[in-house]
């Protein structure tokens, strides 16, 4: 009780276990990929390293969504936009690294600018040859957009589905804008055919392993940040806002500041996820802005269990793993049935998502309410009756 609101509380046993597991994966996968020969049964092929790296990036995106949706009740249907913007910032850096090795051999301009007859580098591209600047932009662009967008929306008290829909409008508008070649970011084809990152060949096994480990590290960091936030009084206020926004105001909490803060942090996390995603999948294009992508990311969180940080991570990995498996082999023509069935099944039989249901089930046995398993719908959580004590 005395240590209630301190970092140690954020790093509870579940968190430590979770972080340890992630850390182990971060080390083991690259190791098994680089150190073992192809023939070894334990060898992890490079394509799996990239694939897992992609999952980890999606997990970070899911985590960022869970932070605002699960804890503050803000349902963003446009979070893919922040992910994509972070991705574009990284993509622009990678494009500039190509230098004169593009098909037209233009040392300054990326290929798509050459064949569209552009003569000079657009302003937005300036500085992206510098890695630190690009990394700054990875955080700043999504963060700034979230800040401005959130400032307007939260101040005007746009809530619920209205907020969800305008975030969707935002990502849709960005999708259309980025589609345009005139916009200067490669149109529909986006940015691709990357060569180096920080001087290392993006396609080399070592680079891939390093990118994977970095993604894991980012996810761990993101997880710790989320834990610290939700375990502090800040997190309590978020939940209070989720349950009864007006009541929180009457208690003197400036709801919009809290929302804005958490929304911006979440957008930055999504941006980082996008930035790590791009070199691993090798392309960033406007498709990432598509509203369906954002909805899908929300779905991962719901599958894993909203309001449980580990759930977001597990949901993202699980759904994407299912997608990878289902889209190959004999199942390929039917994979939408399986995936759709999975979503319906989870809602019906695991109403709190996978982790949420487990947590709830365990909480029921431990009797007291757990911090990590708030009941999103506000429905009854099993507790021992007062009267019986």
């Amino acid at each position: 009780m005395t240590e209630l609101f301190m970092i140690p509380r954020a790093l509870d046993r579940g968190t430590i276990v979770f972080l340890a597991l992630l850390g182990a994966v971060a080390i083991a996968v690259p190791l098994l990929n680089l150190a073992l020969p192809d023939s070894s049964p334990l060898h992890v092929p490079t394509y799996l390293v990239s694939l897992f790296g992609k999952y980890v990036c999606f997990a970070l995106l899911a985590l960022s969504i869970d932070l605002i949706w699960g804890y503050c009740g803000i349902l963003s249907l446009g979070h893919g936009a922040f992910f994509a913007l972070g991705g574009y910032a990284m993509g622009m850096y990678l494009m500039r690294q190509i230098g004169g090795r593009g098909v037209y051999g233009n040392p300054l301009l990326p290929d798509f600018m050459v064949f569209l007859n552009w003569k000079e580098l657009p302003l937005a591209w300036w500085g992206f040859s510098s890695f630190p600047y690009a990394m700054l932009m990875v955080l700043a662009v999504p963060g700034l957009l979230a800040l401005v967008f959130g400032w307007f929306a939260f101040r005007s008290r746009v809530t619920g589905v209205y907020f969800s829909i305008i975030t969707q409008a935002m990502t849709f508008a960005l999708l259309l804008a980025f589609f345009r070649n005139d916009f200067g970011f490669g149109g529909n084809n986006g940015l691709t055919d990357f060569k180096d990152i920080l001087g290392f060949n993006v396609q080399a096994d070592g680079t891939r392993a390093a990118l994977f480990a970095t993604s894991c590290l980012a996810l761990m960091l993101g997880y710790v940040v989320c834990r610290i936030l939700v375990a502090s009084k800040f997190g309590m206020v978020l939940i209070a806002i989720r349950d009864a926004e007006a009541r929180a105001r009457f208690l003197g909490y400036r709801v919009e500041s809290y929302k804005l803060a958490v929304f911006t942090i979440s957008a930055c996390m999504a941006g980082v996820a996008g930035a790590l995603y791009v070199p691993q999948v090798g392309i960033i294009n406007p498709g990432e802005f598509s509203p369906a992508n954002s909805i899908e990311a929300v779905i991962w969180v719901a599958v894993g269990g909203r309001g449980t940080l580990a759930g977001a991570v597990i949901g993202a990995v699980l759904v994407n793993y299912a997608k990878t498996t289902f889209t190959s082999g004999a199942l390929a023509p039917y994979w939408l049935f399986l995936l759709g069935g999975l979503f319906v099944g989870v809602t019906l039989w695991l109403p709190r998502g996978i982790v949420g249901t487990i947590a709830h089930w365990r909480a029921g046995r431990r009797i007291t309410a757990t911090e990590d398993a708030p009941d999103p719908s506000g429905a009854a959580v099993a507790t021992k009756p007062q009267a019986a004590e």
């Binding site: 098909v103 589609f179 084809n189 090798g282 294009n285 498709g287």
Partner: protein, 399 residues
């Protein structure tokens, strides 16, 4: 028993499934047929189908999976340019082979990719030539979906038209988003643009879903081919299956293949195709033929090389010939594009095309457009120069 695996990378779900599923089916048919003939190098072919679900990063992931996990010898796949761009680095890195069957904007020649669809000079330019000569068109609306293929094609066409003396004010370029479905304003605008007293035509690079509502609106607003003809580069038999074509009589499409072309090869192919899909109404189209030609070339090249080793097959492919379904013989060029006949067809009432013009002989595909500043000096030659972007001015490979 050991098999030779052939990867098929076409979307079976999502927005592109509408076009790409057919190509998967064609590949399955070709492979089955080859196996009936005894396979290749004494082994059976085995198709490995994956679904990249119209999701571009997923294309890259699936390509990687096909090559490393399934160890396919060759991949037939992609439709949109972005999906091709997405998988390019993968094919280069893992040194495998991709056959790309769709007409595209050009400006590319990669060692690992073989382009069996049309380059702009095999579709767009001849179509415009036809309209200028046959229909005396002087005023042009370049109407496209907002993405790279239309943008680039229109850039090339614009330069070409201007070089032919068309005045800039007689060219109107417009783009609409993917899936644009309300064409009222655009069709009215086309009518307006066409009322300046000069013969006007529309060059349409509208892609995919947007075509059906576009043609429906044309039909309803009574834009007749005799007044303002529309020539399209992305509308084939498959797309027309969704529209009642009676009001569209006479509008045009430019392709390297039409189902209606009357040759024995084509007849036989269509029959096989209908039998294979157990659907007597199934149509055939240009990208399908591109796969037919590409597959035949690959088979020949493997036989010639005696192995499926990518390096050997890549070297064996240029110069390989295969009969196309329209009576000619296509050849794989050193720039990894092929020679193709070009046909202009007019839409008939039954959803088929009536060929009204065709090129003399076959047109070789050009990777780099003469009409773009950035590429006019580039040459692709993987046989002698071993380079996809040799700059004839600076005499250097690499642009």
């Amino acid at each position: 028993q050991e098999t030779i695996k052939v990867g098929i990378l076409h979307s079976l779900s999502g927005t592109m499934a509408i076009s790409e599923t057919t190509l998967k089916d064609v590949m399955l048919m070709l492979i089955e047929e080859q196996n009936k003939k005894g396979g290749l190098l004494g082994k059976k072919l085995e198709a490995v189908v994956v679904d990249p679900a119209s999701n571009w990063p997923l294309f890259a992931e699936k390509a990687r999976e096909l090559i490393t996990k399934d160890k396919v010898s060759v991949v037939f796949g992609c439709w949109t340019s972005v999906s091709r761009k997405s998988v390019l680095p993968v094919f280069k890195e893992l040194n495998s082979i991709l056959f790309y069957p769709v007409q595209y904007e050009g400006e590319e020649s990669e060692r690992n990719v073989f382009y069996t669809g049309a380059a702009p000079n095999q579709q767009a330019i001849p179509a415009v030539d036809y309209l200028m000569k046959e229909e005396k068109v002087q005023r042009w609306v370049l109407e496209g979906t907002d993405y790279v293929y239309p943008r680039t094609t229109n850039k090339i066409l614009e330069a070409y038209l201007v070089s032919k003396g068309v005045k800039p004010e007689d060219i109107s370029i417009n783009y609409t988003p993917f899936g644009h479905s309300d064409w009222q304003t655009r069709v009215a605008e086309i009518k307006r643009f066409g009322s300046a007293g000069k013969k006007t035509a529309v060059v349409s690079t509208i892609n995919g879903d947007a075509n059906v509502p576009f043609y429906k609106e044309l039909g309803n607003q009574g834009v007749k081919a005799t007044d303002i003809p529309v020539v399209a580069f992305s509308v084939g038999e498959e797309e027309l299956a969704g529209v009642d074509t009676k009001p569209l009589l006479g509008h045009l499409a430019a392709w390297n293949y039409f189902q209606s072309i009357d040759t024995p090869d084509n007849k036989a192919f269509i029959e096989k195709w209908k039998a294979f899909t157990k659907n007597p109404k199934r149509v055939s189209n240009d990208p399908m033929e591109a796969h037919v030609v590409g597959f035949a070339m690959w088979v020949k090249a493997v036989e010639k090389a005696g192995t499926t080793d990518p390096d050997k097959v890549i070297d064996a492919l240029p110069g390989t010939t295969a009969p196309n379904l329209t009576g000619g013989t296509s050849e794989m060029l050193p720039n990894h594009h092929i020679t193709k006949p070009v046909f202009i067809g007019e839409i008939k009432g039954d959803g088929q095309f009536d060929v009204v013009w065709k090129t003399e002989g076959l047109v070789p595909g050009e990777a780099w457009s003469k009409y773009l500043d950035g590429s006019k000096d580039l040459v692709a030659d993987w046989v002698k120069l071993k380079c996809g972007n040799y700059n004839s001015k600076t005499q250097k490979c690499g642009g």
